[in-house]
């Protein structure tokens, strides 16, 4: 019985595969490529900001750089990251299914993503789009002389990939669970993927509409957003954030799921508050739709709307708080092992908490007026997106790498990379909170002398961070060739995915697997 990697090694068999595991790998390769591009743009920006005057690149190039960085990282890396790679690979394995419900739709989702992604990339690099990832109007529709329409088309297409994956996941979770896999036995990672899919299916269409409207205003001069044409720029922000705030949860929820898998395994304790974590995932998906106006406090929406959105933004912190408490309680009295995935998970907990708490500052109407469009906001969402999501993604990748490839990576290097990233991340973004509080605006390529010291620290931190990211890239590749074989269950972990060999066979399960209670740690009969 050959595993899914070697069952047929021709290029054609990869390009036409409907195996969810192979499609997960295709997504992994694709988003790694986009991550590197986005990372290079970030590096250039930090180099420019290392000195106060704008000396390395011109203002124009800097605008394109932050557009490239934001667009690629948000739309082409973070949104698909965990769902499309780990989610695709693990969801059927975790629920005891042979594949997703619609395997061909899954492959289509990858092709659509690849095409849309490359179109987007091209529109920025060749077409010089300089609107930022948010496309704010009327700048994007009336003033910029760049290929905004092409970029909008690219993101529009990528959106369909998201919808397809979401639809596939929802149906799979509902109809393909193994007979004994009840809802309360579902791994929490699956719960978060389910909640994420709801957002993808229900919110992404609104983004599609918004992008079409941008194209219409640019092409035909239809007055939708531009006040000079009788439109309303706030309408754009309503539509954009109706999708894009929930999209934050598309990015962070699967990360929370990964953490909920890693912590019990390395603390050798059952997860604390299973039902609370599962329920709060759904609560986040729903409440996440009620707070989009907190991006518009300083944009001129009505005071009443501002008050309501501010209040609701505080409420949405509650389910996240429940999760952090449950995770902490899981660690309490556990026999903790500090393997690489665990280091990433602990890093996640620290950084995500800081990111969440600073979010409360920003949700406060009066404080937000002071901090809007400063580096404080930049630091805040990087703590959530990079400190939270990316840490979880890398933690999950380290946790399931042996399963996906059948190979072990060098553990010491793994731990070094986790520590490097944690230190480098704090070095980069903690100073930015102070910079923002002192009033340094975002998206400028030059700044007054007095901000230089903190910016130098930030850039130095970014060097560490870059090293931290380069390391896994190197040793993961190395492990493919030289890594020791992993065996089916290198972490002694609970969960159906560890019951099959590594890498898993083509159709996952020969017979219908036996399902246990989730998170049965310590493992009975093993320790």
């Amino acid at each position: 019985m050959k595993d899914y990697l070697y069952e047929d090694v021709s290029l054609k068999s990869w390009l036409l595969t409907t195996d969810h595991k192979r499609i997960g790998i295709l997504f992994l390769l694709t988003i790694t490529f986009f991550f590197i591009i986005g990372g290079v743009a970030a590096t250039l920006m930090r180099m420019e900001l290392a000195t106060a005057p704008g000396d390395l690149v011109s203002a124009d190039v800097y605008n394109r750089l932050f557009t490239l960085h934001g667009t690629v990282m948000v739309w082409l890396f973070l949104i698909p990251s965990i769902p499309a790679t780990l989610g695709n690979f693990l969801l059927p394995l975790m629920i005891g299914a042979k594949d997703l419900a619609f395997p061909r739709l899954n492959l289509l989702s990858w092709y659509v993503f690849l095409f849309g992604g490359l179109l987007t990339l091209w529109s920025i690099i060749i077409g010089g789009v300089d609107t930022g990832w948010t496309f704010y109007t009327p700048y994007s529709t009336t003033y910029t002389n760049s290929h905004v329409i092409m970029m909008a088309a690219g993101i529009f297409i990528v959106g369909f990939s998201s919808i397809f994956s979401g639809l596939n996941f929802i149906v799979t979770v509902h109809s393909l669970r193994a007979p004994e896999m009840t809802w309360t036995r579902l791994p929490l990672f699956v719960w978060t993927l389910y909640a994420t899919s709801l957002i993808m299916v229900l919110a992404t269409p609104i983004l599609s509409v918004t992008l079409v409207l941008i194209a219409a205003e640019r092409l035909f001069g239809v007055g939708i957003f531009d006040p000079a044409l009788g439109g309303d720029p706030l309408l754009f922000q309503h539509l954009f954030w109706f999708y894009s705030h929930p999209a934050v949860y598309i990015m962070i929820l699967p990360g929370m799921g990964v953490i909920s898998e890693i912590l019990p395994c390395f603390a050798r304790r059952p997860i604390f508050g299973y039902k609370f974590i599962a329920g709060s995932s759904l609560a986040i998906a729903v409440f996440g739709f009620l707070v989009w106006g907190h991006h518009m406090f300083a944009a001129g929406q009505s005071l009443y709307a501002g008050l309501v959105f501010s209040f609701l933004s505080f409420l949405v912190a509650v389910p996240s708080g429940i999760k952090v408490f449950s995770w902490t309680a899981t660690l309490y009295k556990g026999s903790i092992r500090f393997d690489t995935p665990m280091l990433y998970a602990l890093g996640f907990m620290g950084l995500f908490t800081i990111g969440g708490l600073t979010g409360l500052f920003l949700a406060t109407l009066a404080v937000d007026v002071h901090l809007t469009d400063t580096f404080f906001v930049v630091a805040h969402f990087h703590f959530i997106m990079v400190g939270g999501m990316l840490m979880a993604y890398l933690g999950g990748l380290h946790f399931w790498w042996p399963k996906m490839t059948g190979k072990l990576y060098p553990e010491t290097l793994g731990r070094i990379s986790a520590v490097l990233i944690f230190l480098g991340f704090n070095g980069t973004f903690l100073p930015q909170f102070i910079l923002g509080y002192l009033g340094m605006p975002r998206r400028y390529y030059a700044y007054p002398e007095q901000f230089e010291f903190l910016n130098v620290i930030s850039s130095a931190g970014a060097v560490l961070l870059a090293l931290g990211y380069a390391l896994p890239l190197a040793y993961f590749t190395w492990s493919l060739i030289k890594g020791r074989p992993a065996g089916a269950d290198p972490w002694n972990a609970a969960g159906l995915e560890w019951k099959v060999s590594s890498p898993p066979p083509h159709h996952n399960f020969e017979t219908i697997p036996v399902v246990e209670q989730p998170y049965r740690y310590p493992r009975p009969g093993h320790e």
Binding site: H174, L198, L202, I206, L234, H238, F242, F289, L290, W292, G293, G300, Q301, S302, L303, Y304, A305, V308, F309
Partner: protein
């Protein structure tokens, strides 16, 4: 078959009604109410939502809920800001 026929007849009736309402200037809300009624008939009887599983009903309910969020919050801002 018989239910379907009745539903079709009521749909045609409502279509006539909406045109008449337009002729008598009964306004947007009237037109909207008629359209919602027609949609409800189509969903309940033609798409058989009535006989579908609870899960399907849940999906339909979820969409309704999300529509309320989208329209409710956006229009709330517009009404309180511009006072249409």
């Amino acid at each position: 078959m018989k239910t379907h026929l009745l539903v079709w007849l009521s749909l045609m009736l409502l279509l006539g009604l909406t045109v008449v309402a337009w002729q008598y200037h009964l306004g947007f809300l009237m037109a909207l109410a008629i359209a919602v009624t027609k949609a409800a008939l189509v969903i309940a009887f033609f798409m058989h939502l009535r006989k579908e599983s609870p899960l399907t009903k849940f999906v339909a309910g979820a969409v309704l809920f999300w529509l309320l969020i989208l329209f409710g919050f956006t229009l709330a801002d517009y009404f309180s800001r511009l006072g249409f």
